[in-house]
Symmetry: D2
Subunit: 436 residues, 4 copies
C-alpha cells in the first residue's frame, strides 16, 4: 500500500511554546511529541514479520500532541472556527474545547466563530462572525447541534481566503465531512498560492464513521447509543403485535457502521441490511422469505437497515444530488416497508409493520461521555498541530491514539465494513442472519 | 349537566376481604372505602355556591379503594387480563401490578394473560393464554410494550364470553382505548344476558389523554417527557441552520394534549398546532406569514403539530378507517412540510426544514417514575373494585384521587383542550403565538 | 378549620395590563381571573353536603392568573429574584420563566438577579447582582442548581429593605423553603412599615414537598424520579449478594413524601421508614426481626429510609441546629446500618449490607419535563400576582390548579403523610410491610 | 520485556465446529482464526524499527475468535458460569451472551449458572445452580447486577473441582477480578492435577479498568459515563454556593482510570487526585492552598478523588483486609473533606463543601451501549476459545482487538496510569492542575 502520510507545514517552528513539558522519561512529566513519533497502521504480527523479512518500513501515522516549538508568534495569532454539513453529536464540545485550549493553554483571545458553515466566510451572506470566549462556550456541551450553525455545500475559495486574510485569521479549524475537508484543503492551497500563512486543521465530522484511516469519529458512539435505545424499544413494537415487524432505518449513506454496531449493542435485532452487503429480496433464500420463516417461528422480527443499503434495487432510476453534491439515496426504508407489506399481503400472511426513521433525533442529540472525551482530545490536538505550523491536516484516532493525517489521505475513499472482518462476523454471529 | 355516575354491581358483596383495615379515623389505620365516598366533579367555589343556592347536589364520582366486603368467594376466582390497541408506556406496569395485587393481597393464583388483545379471547386464533405469576412479571416494568401483545379491532362478543365462561374466568381486566372500552362494556352486557357472573374492570389506555372525566391517563406523562427531550434536541436542528425550521408531529388524533403539555415543559416551541384550534395557513395573519416573520427576526423556528390538527384542510378528500374503526387522519405533518417549503420556495425565502415524526419511539418506551406510580394505583384499585363485584366500570384519576366511572360515561365523548381554559392560555403565554 | 386565606395587596390595581384577554366565555379567548375565582380546599362530596346542611362556606383558595388591572405602572417596575436554601431541581427553570414572563409579556427590562440568597441583599457581602436578560437565561434549564447561587440563613431585614429600595426594586421574587418564606414575609412587613411599595411573591422550594396546602412543589417529582432509578439499581446490589440488603437514605426531614412516592414508582422496596410513622426496631414484630424473616424467605431486601425517620431513637442526645436554624437530624441511615449489622452479627446471620446516600446527586439534577412545566406555571403566576399588587403571598398547586396563598398560611406547619390516608395505604399495599 | 503470552490447551482440537466459515480472503466469508494470528503489544513505529534492527520478535497476543477445530465433542459438553466479587455494569450482558452463544451457535443446552460466586461451587452452602436457557436470560441486560448473585473471597479449590466434576461440567466461565482470576487459575491447575479435562475461560471484571494488558474491561465505560453525569450535576452544587466545593470520591483502588477519564468527559473538574500521583496537601504549592486560590478566583471548585488516592497520608495506621484479601483503603474522601474544612475554618475562609460518594449507584447500573457490545464480544470469544480446548486464559481487548491472554499474565500486576503518558497529560491539560 502506497500512502502519502506526510503532513504539510507552513515553515520551521521557531517560537517557544507556553506549555511546559519535558524530554525525559523519568521525571513524571509528559514529553513533547516529535514528528517522528508514529503509530503503525497495521498492528498484526503477520504484518510485522512480512516487513521484517522484506526489510521494508510499514505505513505509519504521525502522532498528535504538543510540539516543543511553535510556528506562530502567539501574540499575533487570530483563530477561526467553522462547522459545516449536517448536525452530529459533539460539535459544541469541539467548539468548546478549541476555545478553551486556545484561550487557556496558548493565551489566544481572538477567536472568531464563523456562522452557518462556509457561508460565514463569504461576506455577502452577512453572517457576522461571533467572538468566542470561555464563559460563552462553557455550558454549550449540554446541548446538541452547533452554536455556530452550519450549512451544506461549498463556497468560492478565493473569496473565502480573501476574507480570512482581511480578518487576520491565520489558524482556521474546519469541522465537517468529506466535502468540508476538500474545501479545507482548497482553502489551504489557495492561501499557499497567494502566500498567506494560514494553517488549516480539520476535524472530520461523520456520524457514519466512514472516514478512511480514522478508527472512530466523534458523534458515532453517541449515535450508536441513541440508536440502541430506540431499537430496544422498537423491539417492543414488534413483540407487541402478532407477526409484528419493526423496521428501523439508521444513518449510513455508504457504510453500515451505525447499523452494525447498534446491532452488537442489542442482541434483539434479527436482520441488518447495510450498503456493503448485497441485498437479495426474492427467492427461497431471499430476505422476504427469511423474514416470513422468522415470523412463523417467533411471531416478531426486528430489522435494521442503513439508509444506503440496497441501492442497486433502484439502479434504473435517475440520479439526484443534494446541495453538498452528495448523491441522494433512494429511500430504502420506505421501499422495504412497501415490499414487505406487499409480499405478505399477496400471500395473505397476517402481519403488522412499524417503520421508524429516527435520523434527526439522533443527529441533534448532545454527545455522550465517551464522545465528549474524544471531542476534547481532537480539539486539543488540532490546536497543537495548527500552532506548530502544520496545515492541510486532519486529526483522528488510530489504534486508540490521536494522529495527524493529510486531508488528501482522509478523503481518498470512504471507510467501509469489511465483509471478511471481525465486525461483520460479529453481526452475523449475533443475528444468525445469512450472508447474502 | 346530567351524568350517570352510578357503578353497576353483580350483586351484594357478602364475603370478607383478606385485607385488614379499619373504620376508625384515629387508629392510624386506613379505612375501608364506602360507595358513598365521592369526589366532586367541579372544585370551584362558584360551583359550590351555585349548588348551595339552588339546593342541588353537584356531580361527583365514586372513590376507588378497598371495600370491606367482596362479592366473590376468592377461592373460586379466576382472573384474566387483556391489553388492546396501540402501545402506550405503562402497559407492562399495569399487568405487573394487577398480578401482584391479585396474588399477594387477594391470594388469587389463576391469572390468565390473554394474548394479542381481544383476538386472545377467540379460540380460533389459537393464541393460547399465558398463566401469569409474580416471578414472571416482576422485571417487565423495565420494558415498554406489552408482554401479552395487543391487537386492534373488536371481536365477536358472544364468542368471547363463551370462551371466558369456559375458562371459568369471572374477573376480567381490559386495558385499552375507546374501542376496547366499548368492547368491555359489550362483554359485560352479554355476560349479564346469559347470566354469567362476570366482573369487567377497564383501565383506559390513551396516550393522547383524551378520556372524558379522567384527569390523566397512564403513559401520557411519559409521552410528554419523551417528546420534551425530542423537541429540546429538535431545537438544535432548527438553530443549526440558517432559517432552520424543525417541524415535529406528535400524537393527538382528536385532542392536542401531548402537543400542549410538551410545549409547556420546554419554552423553545414557537408554534403549537392542535386539533381543537382552527388552523389558518394563508393571509397576512396566517401561519405561513407568521412563520416567515419569526424567521426574519430570529432565523430559526420550532413547530409542534398534533397528528389530528388542521383536518379541515383535507375536508374535500374521502374518509378512510383503520381496523379499530377509527377514522384515518390525513398526514398533517407531511402536508405542512410541503406547504411550508412550497410557500418559501415560491417567495424565494431561504430556509431549511427538518420533519420529525417520533410516534413509535414514544409509544414503545417504558413508563417513567410518575406513570409507574399511576399504573400501580390504577391496577390495585381495579382489583379492589372488581372483587367487590363492581362491573362495567373504569378506574381513573380525578382531582388527584382515584375514582370509578361507568364505562359509558368514560366513552361518552372525547376530552378536548378547552380553548378558554388554563392549559391553552399557558400555551399562548409561553409561545406568544396568536389564537387563530 | 379556621384559615386566613386572604391575600394582601399594596392597593387598588388601576393600570391596564398589556395582556389582551376577555370577559366572555364564548369567544375562545381566556378570561381574566378575578379575585373571587376560588378553588375548594376539600373536594369530597361529604364536605360539600356538610357545608350545605350547615349553610356554611367552605375553605377555598384564590385562583392564580392574569388580572385585568395592574397595581404597578410597568414603565417604573424593577424586579428582583433571589434563590435561597439548598439546591432543588427546577430553580433555574423558575428563574428563566420569571425573566421571560417579565420581559416578553410585561416588557420589564430591569431584572436583578441577587447572588447567594439573602446575602445578595446585604451590600457588605459585595455580591453584585446580575442584570438578567432572556438570552442569558435561555439555556439554563438544561442545568440543575441555581445560576444565582444560594445560601442558607436569614439576614438583617431592615438592611435588605433599604438596599431593595435603594435599587428601586418594587417587585421581589423569593424562592426558598420555610425560612426563606418567613424572611420574605418579614421583608414585606418591613417595607410596609417604611411605606415602601414593595410586592413580595414567594415560590416555595421544598424538595421534601412538605409545604402546607400545596399539593406538589417543584423539584419533588424530579427527586422521586431520580430516587426511583437509584432504587431500581440498588435492588441489584441487594439481589446480587446472599442475604443482600440495600439501605437507601432519601431526603425527608420531617415528612416522608419522597420515600413514600419513590416506593410507589418501584415495587421492589420492602420496607419504607418515614418520620411520620413510629419505628420499632426490636422485638418479635420489630423491624430487625421482620427484616431477618424477609431475608430467610427471599435472600435480599431493599429498605428506604427518610433522613428524618426514627428521630425518637436519638431522643437522649443533644439538639443541634444549622445556619438556617433547622434542627440537625441525627443520621438515621448510618445508625440503621450499624444496628442491622450489629443485630445480624450477634446472631451470626450471614448478610451483606450496602448503604446508599444519594442526597446531593438528586438535589443538583436538572428538572424533569413535568417539573419544568410546573416551574414555568409557578413563575408566570407569581408575576401576574405581583404586578397586580398582591404581596406577602406564595403561588402553589392545589387540586391541579394554581392558587395564591398568604405566606403565613403556607408556613403555618409542615405537611405530613397522613397515616390514615391513601398515600400511606398505597405504600403498605405495595410493600406488604406492617404498620408499626 | 519478557512475557509468557502462550495459552494453555487441554489437547489437540479434533472435532469439527458447527460454525461455517472459510479460509479464503476473497469470498466475503469470515475466516477461521488460527493460533498464529497475533496482535502486537507495542504499535509505535519506534518499537517496530528497534525490533527490525535487533532482528527480534516483539511481544504479541493471540487473537481471539472461532477456531476451525474444537477440542470438545459438543454433544458431551456441559458449561458453567460463575460471577464473583463486587457488582460491575455488564455482568448480566456477559451471562446472556455466554448462554446465547453456547445455545444457538454451539447447540449446548446444559448450562449451569452457579449462585453467589465461588460459594456456588461448594455444595455445603446449598446454593443450588440454575439451569440457564435463552428465554430466561433474554431481558436481563436491561438490569444491572448479576442474576446469579456474587460473593467475595475464595473457596477450597479441590472441593470446587470435585463438585464441577460431579456435575460433569467441562467448560467453566469465571467472571471476576484479580482474586477470581487467581481462583480460576487454581481450579484449572487442580483439574489438570486430577486429570479432569476442564477448560477454564475467565472474563476479567474490574470497574477500575486496572487489568494488565487489557485496554478496556467491561463496565468501565458505563462507570465513566455515570460518573460524568454525577460530576456534571455536582458542579451545580459547587457553583450554587459561595466558595462552594464539590468533592466526589470515585472508584479506583490502585489506579485512577475512572477519575481521569471522567474528568476528560467533563471539563468542569478542577482537581483530580489519583493513587498513582503523589498528593501533597500542605505548603504554598500544596493542594489546600491551590484550592484556596482557585476559590478566590472563581468562588467554586470541583474535586474528584479516587478511593485509593493519597494512601501514604495514612501510612502510620494499621493495615486491614476484606474477605477477598484486598487491603482495605482508608477513606480518603472523608479524610479530605475534613482536612479541607479544617484548613478553611482555621484561616476563617468562608466555604461550603459537599461530599458525594456514588460508588454503589455506579456499580449497580445496567451497561451502556458500548459496554453491551464489549460484553457480547468477550462472551462470544470466551466460548470460542474454551471449546477449542484453551484453558487458564482470559479474553480481553488490546488495540481494539479481542485477544486471549494467560491468566498469569493478566494478574501479574495491576495496570496503572502512566504519569508520563497521554492520559495523564490530557488530564493536566484539561484541569490546569499542577503535577504534584
Amino acid at each position: 500500500m502506497e500512502l502519502n502520510t506526510t503532513i504539510k507545514t507552513l515553515g520551521t517552528p521557531e517560537y517557544l511554546t507556553p506549555i511546559h513539558l519535558s524530554r525525559s522519561d523519568t521525571d513524571n512529566i509528559y514529553n513533547y511529541i516529535d514528528d517522528d513519533d508514529r503509530v503503525l497502521y497495521d498492528t498484526s504480527l503477520k504484518s510485522f514479520l512480512k516487513h521484517q523479512n522484506e526489510n521494508s518500513v510499514p505505513v505509519s501515522f504521525e502522532k498528535a500532541g504538543p510540539r516543543e516549538k511553535l510556528y506562530f508568534n502567539l501574540s499575533k495569532v487570530k483563530a477561526g472556527i467553522v462547522t459545516c454539513g449536517g448536525l452530529c453529536p459533539g460539535l459544541n464540545n469541539v467548539i468548546r474545547s478549541l476555545v478553551m485550549e486556545l484561550w487557556y493553554r496558548y493565551k489566544i483571545k481572538d477567536i472568531f466563530g464563523f456562522r452557518y458553515g462556509y457561508e460565514g466566510l463569504i461576506p455577502s451572506y452577512s453572517h457576522e462572525p461571533i467572538l468566542l470566549r470561555p464563559d460563552m462556550v462553557n455550558p454549550i456541551y449540554l446541548q446538541g447541534g452547533s452554536i455556530l450553525g452550519s450549512s451544506r455545500g461549498g463556497q468560492d475559495v478565493p473569496e473565502m481566503v480573501k476574507y480570512i486574510k482581511a480578518l487576520g485569521v491565520n489558524v482556521l479549524f474546519c469541522i465537517g465531512g468529506d466535502g468540508t475537508l476538500r474545501g479545507a484543503r482548497d482553502i489551504s492551497e489557495e492561501a499557499e498560492k497567494i502566500k498567506y500563512k494560514l494553517s488549516i486543521a480539520a476535524i472530520p465530522k461523520t456520524i457514519d464513521n466512514d472516514v478512511n484511516f480514522i478508527e472512530r469519529s466523534f458523534g458515532f458512539e453517541t449515535a450508536v447509543s441513541k440508536a440502541s435505545s430506540i431499537i430496544r424499544d422498537a423491539h417492543n413494537e414488534a413483540y407487541g403485535a402478532y407477526n409484528g415487524i419493526a423496521l428501523i432505518k439508521l444513518m449510513g449513506r455508504d457504510s453500515g457502521f451505525i447499523a452494525a454496531h447498534t446491532t452488537l449493542t442489542n442482541q434483539g435485532v434479527n436482520f441488518v441490511l447495510v450498503p456493503e452487503a448485497p441485498l437479495k429480496l426474492d427467492g427461497d433464500d431471499g430476505f422476504l422469505n427469511r423474514l416470513k420463516k422468522r415470523l412463523e417461528r417467533r411471531h416478531h422480527a426486528v430489522i435494521v437497515v442503513s439508509e444506503g443499503a440496497g441501492q442497486d434495487l433502484f439502479k434504473d432510476l435517475p440520479v439526484e444530488k443534494d446541495a453538498s453534491g452528495n448523491i441522494k439515496k433512494h429511500d430504502i426504508g420506505i421501499y422495504l416497508k412497501e415490499r414487505i407489506s406487499g409480499y405478505f399481503d399477496e400471500i395473505k400472511f397476517p402481519h403488522n409493520i412499524r417503520y421508524i426513521d429516527p435520523s434527526y433525533i439522533i443527529r441533534s442529540a448532545p454527545a455522550n461521555a465517551n464522545d465528549s472525551k474524544l471531542c476534547s482530545q481532537l480539539a486539543q490536538n488540532a490546536v497543537h498541530g495548527a500552532l506548530a505550523g502544520k496545515t492541510n491536516f486532519v486529526v483522528g484516532l488510530w489504534n486508540s491514539q490521536l494522529v495527524y493525517l493529510p486531508i488528501d489521505l482522509a478523503v481518498k475513499e470512504r471507510k467501509k465494513i469489511n465483509l471478511e472482518g471481525d465486525l461483520w462476523w460479529n453481526v452475523l454471529e449475533v443475528t444468525g442472519q445469512p450472508n447474502w
